[in-house]
């Protein structure tokens, strides 16, 4: 399918048309920051953002999710039976997702959908989801996507890409899913050569605008023990207050904890985001904690992203360079500096 063109003001109507078939999710500004929320006909969508505060990961991997329900009343007919909590997986579309956040979904997919394990809820949501990306004309000073295998117009994890050309969007279908969606939304006007060229220039210009970068070339050859025992961890960890900000905001952090919550005789099994920054994350039932100190927890976060993941999957680092952890860490622990330390050891 060749590239299409729409006028900017047409977008709302296209999304309204899509709403007949899809749940439409779009960036919305509320309380001073952006997040992905259901699109309303009134047009709450606001594409004037650099990055949403929270990544869109909760759309496929909610912070708290009821997964099973059970009944502890022996006399009841379903006593002691664990049942899957019923859910819908309607076809959905995320509009305006940034290329880094889309790439993060692909990266996390390795964890939730692989030959060994399939997380049914993730897999079903992923199947139902279509990703309409929005290229980043104005990357932020904390974006370092181009040095971790992504980029402001990276197409690899998207179904459709939008190029913001002032009055127009150039619309590029990248997968069959994307083509189907454009047909549904009746996006069919071919782009002319001039605008096509403008889009290409836009991409090149945006890539040049990325002012921040991290070294990764030597990470692959590093030995786990050398990094684990490196002399810099105390300094890296000193300021850290061991909160969940960096991991909860991160689009690639996938860790969770499972909790049972019971009221009288009925209960729910709930899956909640967890974070390697929390002491409880590794606390054993015996009371022993293999990562009792902050420095060990801080090391885990960086080792996982820049060493274990790299070694295990051979697809690069577990970071897409979105810069959220850099911007929102309350004490300025900056992963870009840790990249340099680890790569340079």
């Amino acid at each position: 399918m060749s590239d299409k063109i729409i006028k900017k003001e047409e977008l709302t109507n296209i999304l309204k048309a899509l709403k007949e078939t899809y749940e439409v999710i779009a960036p919305v500004k509320e309380n001073g920051f952006y997040s992905f929320k259901p699109f309303k006909d009134g047009g709450n969508i606001d594409l004037n953002f650099t990055n949403t505060r929270l990544s869109p990961k909760s759309l496929l991997f909610p912070q708290s999710e009821r997964i099973f329900e059970f009944n502890l009343d022996e006399k009841s007919k379903d006593g002691y039976i664990v049942k899957e909590h019923p859910k819908d997986y309607p076809p959905s579309v995320i509009v305006g997702i940034r290329p880094c956040d889309a790439k993060a979904f692909k990266l996390v997919n390795i964890n939730f959908d692989n030959p060994e394990f399939k997380d049914p809820w993730w897999v079903k949501r992923m199947e139902a989801m279509t990703f309409i990306g929005l290229g980043c004309n104005e990357p932020s000073s904390t974006c370092f996507c181009t040095s971790v295998g992504c980029g402001p117009f990276n197409e690899e994890s998207l179904d459709v890409m939008l190029f913001d050309l002032e009055e127009y969007f150039l619309v590029r279908a990248l997968t069959e899913k994307g083509e189907k969606l454009l047909k549904q939304g009746r996006v069919d006007k071919d782009v002319d050569e001039g605008l096509q060229k403008k889009a290409d220039e836009l991409r090149i210009k945006a890539e040049k605008k990325i002012s921040s970068s991290v070294p990764t070339d030597k990470l692959k050859e590093k030995k786990i023990n050398d990094l684990f025992n490196a002399p810099f961890w105390d300094d890296v960890a000193f300021a850290c207050i061991n909160c969940g900000t960096c991991t909860f905001l991160c689009p690639t952090c996938w860790c969770f904890d499972i909790q049972d919550e019971v009221t009288k005789t009925v209960g729910d099994r709930i899956r909640n985001w967890d974070s390697c920054m929390f002491p409880l994350f590794t606390l054993h039932a015996s009371g022993h904690n293999p990562r009792p100190e902050k420095v060990q927890r801080v090391r885990q976060r960086f080792m996982h992203k820049l060493n274990y993941y790299v070694d295990k999957y051979n697809t690069g680092v577990a970071c897409v360079g979105c810069g959220r952890c850099v911007k929102y860490c309350p004490v300025n622990v900056d992963i870009r500096e840790v990249f340099s330390l680890m790569n340079g050891l």
Partner: protein
Amino acid sequence: MIRYGDTIREIAKKILEEKTVDLIIGFKKGTLPITTEPVLIKDTQNSDQLYWDSFCNMNLANYLPKRGEKIGIIAKGCDSRNIAVHIVENQIKREQLYIIGVPCKGMIDRRKIVSFLGGKEVREVTESDEDITIKGEGFEHTLKKNDYLQNNCSTCMHRNPVIYDAIVGDLVEERKDPDPYDDVKEIEGIGLEERWESFSDLIKDCIRCYACRNACPLCYCPTCFVDESGPQWVGKSIDPTDTMTFHILRAYHCTGRCTDCGACQQACPMDINVKTFTRKLNKDVLDLYGCEAGLSIEERPPLDTYKPDDYDKFIR
């Protein structure tokens, strides 16, 4: 204020050289404009990293508990009060500390700058005594610092450190403003249901990352009640009831101990003003007992003392 940096570095060098202390806890310049990073300095080669400007918002007293060394620590008014709280609560000994006091003119609220810029990014920042100049792509603004202070700093009545061993500049004049609690009174003035609604609204975006708790020097318990797993006092999901339980209990644990330093609010990634809860309790403790936290290292905290002539009968 920015000039304090030279004096801080000078004092730090001297006390490290003379082995008055084993290490210094201070701030270094951040990797982004309008941010700083708490840092631990062990030798004079590194003491030049110490830095000061109006974005040293975190409370360094948070880094003291459980340390055994002799420590030099940089302290604004509020940090010094939290150090005093630590001393009274036996988290650190006065003899272990060499407190480098900073007469504080208030810290700037990064969020107020960000919201003023409405999406544009600060690339460079410079400050003078009264003003701050921020630059970015295609803009430059000079702003009055006083208009962009953290809320707690604009009402702070204890800007000078309450205990110190050295001071980095002349003491500043303390405010005489009679009443810093307008915001609390506003909430006290509304009906019960509305109040509950306003608290629920306040924390509706909370992701339970616990940055507020962890940034707070008062939260030094080996295991926080929300992290207990046997028994488990509170659910761990983002169910509003559990989130509210966390906030209300955390606030109550800070009663009579909170210095309104603002670290909790500054740390929150979701821009939630968690201080709304503790400020009400600060006001109550002031009204009921005439106490403010951390003003002395001799006096026990109000909720930890017993007086035979207490006016309440049930306790006598």
